[in-house]
C-alpha cells in the first residue's frame, strides 16, 4: 500500500506537497502555456498541446493560467499523493481513478493523503491534463516550466516523467477546499472526435500553390500518420502540388503552420515545432481549432476549411470571451 511514503499531512501542514511517480505512463511531461520571448534565439514555444484544456483545469482550481500541470498522453501514469491535494483532470478521457474508484473529469476533487491516481482505458481524445492546486513546481527556465524534450529544456531536466520521480507542488493561492466540486458545465465540455474539421487561413507562401492544391486541401480529409507527435503531424492525403519549388529561404513558422515539402504531403506544426522552417507554408490552422486537433491520434482524420484572417481573429476573440464568461480567471 503506502509503505515507504511518510504522511505528514497533519503534522507539518506548511511542507509543500509531493507527488510520487509510481509509473510514468507512455509520455507524461510538465507543461504550462509555453515559453515565449526567446524564439529569435531558436527556442521553441512548446507548452500544452491543448492550451484550452489545461487553462480550464487551472481556473477550476483557482490557479493562475500560467501554472504548470502534467500533460498525459494516451496511457496515463500512476501517481501517489503524499499529502491531501485538490486536483482536476481535464482534456482527454483516459478513465482516471482515485484508489480504484472512477473520478469525475473537468471537476475539482480532493486526493486524500496517501491516495493513488491512475488512468485506464482511453475513451476519447489523446491528451489529458492533471492540474493541482498551486501548480506543479520546478525551475522556471527562460520564463516557463514547459518541457521541450528535443532541446532538453524545462520540466524535469528537459525530459518526460520516469518511475520514482518526485513532483513538487507550489503554494496554492486559495484555500483549496472552497473549490472542491467546482466543475465545467457539461454543455461546455468538448466532445473529442476521431475526425475533425479545422479552419485555416492562407499562409505566407499560399501563392506558390496551384488553385487545385487549395481545392484539395479544402475538400479531402487527411490522415495523421504514425509520425505525428508534439512537434507536428505528418499528414497523408492528396498531394498539394506547388507552382514552384516548396523550398524557401528559412522563415519563422508557428504552431498551426501547414508546411508542404517536395512530396506534397502536408505537415501540421504543433506545440514543440521549431521556430523557423524551410518549407513553404501553405496555410495556418486557426488557434480556436487547436484544441480539437491536439486531441487527434495517428490514424484519425483531419479536414480543412478556409476562412479569412478577420474571421480567424473573430473566432479567437469569441472563444476567449466564452471561457471568460464560463470560468473567469482567478483574481485576488
Amino acid at each position: 500500500m503506502m509503505e515507504g511514503f511518510p504522511l505528514y499531512g497533519s503534522i507539518m501542514p506548511s511542507k509543500p506537497p509531493t507527488i510520487h511517480v509510481l509509473r510514468p505512463g507512455l509520455f507524461t511531461t510538465i507543461q504550462d502555456l509555453g515559453r515565449y520571448g526567446y524564439q529569435r534565439f531558436g527556442v521553441s514555444v512548446s507548452g500544452a498541446m491543448d492550451p484550452w484544456a489545461i487553462t480550464v483545469g487551472n481556473r477550476l482550481l483557482g490557479n493562475p493560467d500560467q501554472a504548470a500541470g502534467l500533460e498525459v498522453t494516451m496511457q496515463g501514469p500512476e501517481l501517489l499523493f503524499e499529502e491531501a491535494l485538490s486536483i482536476a483532470v481535464t482534456g482527454a478521457d483516459l478513465s482516471p481513478t482515485i484508489n480504484g474508484l472512477a473520478m469525475p473529469m473537468w471537476t475539482v476533487v480532493v486526493m486524500p493523503a496517501g491516495s493513488r491516481l491512475q488512468f485506464g482505458m482511453r475513451r476519447g481524445g489523446v491528451r489529458a491534463y492533471l492540474t493541482v492546486a498551486g501548480g506543479i513546481d520546478g525551475p522556471l527556465i527562460l520564463g516557463s516550466r514547459s518541457t521541450h524534450v528535443r532541446s532538453g529544456l524545462g520540466g524535469l531536466t528537459g525530459r518526460a516523467l520516469k518511475k520514482w520521480d518526485r513532483l513538487d507542488v507550489g503554494p496554492a493561492r486559495t484555500e483549496g477546499e472552497d473549490y472542491v466540486g467546482r466543475t465545467l458545465p457539461k454543455s461546455h465540455r468538448p466532445w473529442y472526435r476521431t475526425s475533425v474539421t479545422a479552419r485555416v487561413i492562407r499562409g505566407p507562401q499560399a501563392d506558390r500553390f496551384t488553385d487545385d492544391a487549395w481545392q484539395r486541401l479544402a475538400s479531402s480529409p487527411y490522415r495523421l500518420t504514425l509520425e505525428s507527435d508534439r512537434m507536428g503531424y505528418r499528414l497523408q492525403g492528396p498531394a498539394l502540388t506547388p507552382r514552384t519549388s516548396t523550398d524557401i529561404v528559412s522563415d519563422a513558422v508557428s504552431v498551426g503552420s501547414i508546411q508542404v515539402p517536395a512530396d506534397g504531403q502536408p505537415i501540421l506544426l504543433m506545440a514543440d515545432c521549431q521556430t523557423t522552417g524551410g518549407y513553404a507554408t501553405l496555410a495556418t490552422m486557426i488557434a480556436a481549432d487547436r484544441s480539437l486537433a491536439a486531441q487527434l491520434s495517428p490514424g484519425d482524420s483531419l479536414s480543412f476549411r478556409v476562412v479569412t484572417p478577420d474571421k480567424a481573429s473573430e473566432l479567437f476573440r469569441s472563444s476567449h470571451a466564452e471561457l471568460e464568461r464560463v470560468l473567469p480567471p482567478h483574481t485576488i
Binding site: Y36, R40, F41, T284, R317
Partner: protein
C-alpha cells in the same frame, strides 16, 4: 550608394497572432540589414499587444496578443515603423572569435568537402576561416546560428540522409551557409570541425552567445588546444 531592395516589403499574416514582414526572397547582407534594423525598431517601439519579434534571413515575424491588437492596426503601425527603420543607422556589429579544430574526429565530412572542391583538408579549413561571417539568424535549436556566406569553392550541399548524432560544437556547411550545433543533436549539415566554445548555457547571465547581426571569425586550432579549451569551458 543605397543598396537595392529586392521587392517592396510585403506584410502577410502567419496566424491570427503573427504578421510576417518580408524584405526580400534571397540571402543577401543588405536584405538582412533591413530585417535587423526593422526588428530593432519594433523591439523599441513597444507597440500595444506586442509579444516578440523573430528576425530571419529576409523577414521579421511579429507576434502579438490578438486581444490587445488587431492585425489591421498592427499592420499600419508596422508600416509606419518601416519608414523610420530604413533611415536609422545600422547597429554596430559585435565580432566573436571562435576557435575550430578542423578535420580528424571533429570533422567527419572535411575530406568529402575537400575532394569536391579539389583542395586539401587544410586548405578547406583555412578558406572556411578566411572570411568574417554574419549571423543572419538563429533557429533549428536554441542558439543555432545560421552564418554566411562560405567561399563559393567550399559551398557543399547537405548530407543526403541526416546523421543521427552530431556532437555539440560541431561546425557544418549546408550550401553557402555555415553553422554551429550548440548541443548534440541529429543533423544533416556537412561537419568539417568542432569548437569548444559553448553557444548556449542557462548558467550564464546571458544564455545565448550570439544574436542576429553579430559577426563570427573562425580561427583554426589543433586537436590538443581544442581539448585544453574544452576543459576550461566546462
Amino acid at each position: 550608394m543605397k543598396p537595392p531592395v529586392d521587392v517592396p516589403p510585403r506584410i502577410v499574416p502567419l496566424s491570427e497572432s503573427a504578421l510576417t514582414v518580408e524584405f526580400g526572397e534571397t540571402i543577401a547582407p543588405h536584405t538582412n540589414d533591413l530585417v535587423l534594423a526593422f526588428a530593432a525598431a519594433v523591439e523599441q517601439a513597444a507597440l500595444p499587444g506586442f509579444r516578440e519579434v523573430v528576425p530571419t534571413y529576409r523577414s521579421a515575424t511579429i507576434y502579438f496578443n490578438p486581444l490587445l491588437a488587431d492585425a489591421r492596426t498592427m499592420t499600419e503601425r508596422l508600416r509606419a515603423l518601416m519608414t523610420n527603420a530604413h533611415t536609422a543607422p545600422p547597429p554596430r556589429p559585435v565580432t566573436y572569435t571562435i576557435p575550430v579544430w578542423y578535420g580528424g574526429a571533429a570533422g567527419p565530412d572535411l575530406s568529402f568537402v575537400a575532394a569536391r572542391a579539389g583542395l586539401t583538408p587544410e586548405q578547406v579549413g583555412t578558406l572556411h576561416a578566411s572570411v568574417v561571417y554574419r549571423v543572419y539568424m538563429l533557429g533549428f535549436s536554441p542558439g543555432f546560428p545560421y552564418l554566411g556566406a562560405v567561399p563559393d569553392r567550399i559551398a557543399t550541399p547537405r548530407l543526403p540522409t541526416p546523421r543521427k548524432h552530431v556532437a555539440a560544437g560541431s561546425v557544418g556547411i549546408a550550401g553557402a551557409q555555415t553553422g554551429i550545433y550548440p548541443h548534440a543533436s541529429p543533423g544533416g549539415w556537412r561537419i568539417i570541425g568542432r569548437t569548444p566554445v559553448v553557444l548556449f548555457s542557462l548558467t550564464r547571465s546571458a544564455p545565448f552567445l550570439l544574436a542576429p547581426g553579430d559577426r563570427v571569425q573562425f580561427v583554426p586550432i589543433e586537436e590538443m588546444e581544442f581539448h585544453h579549451l574544452l576543459r576550461d569551458h566546462s
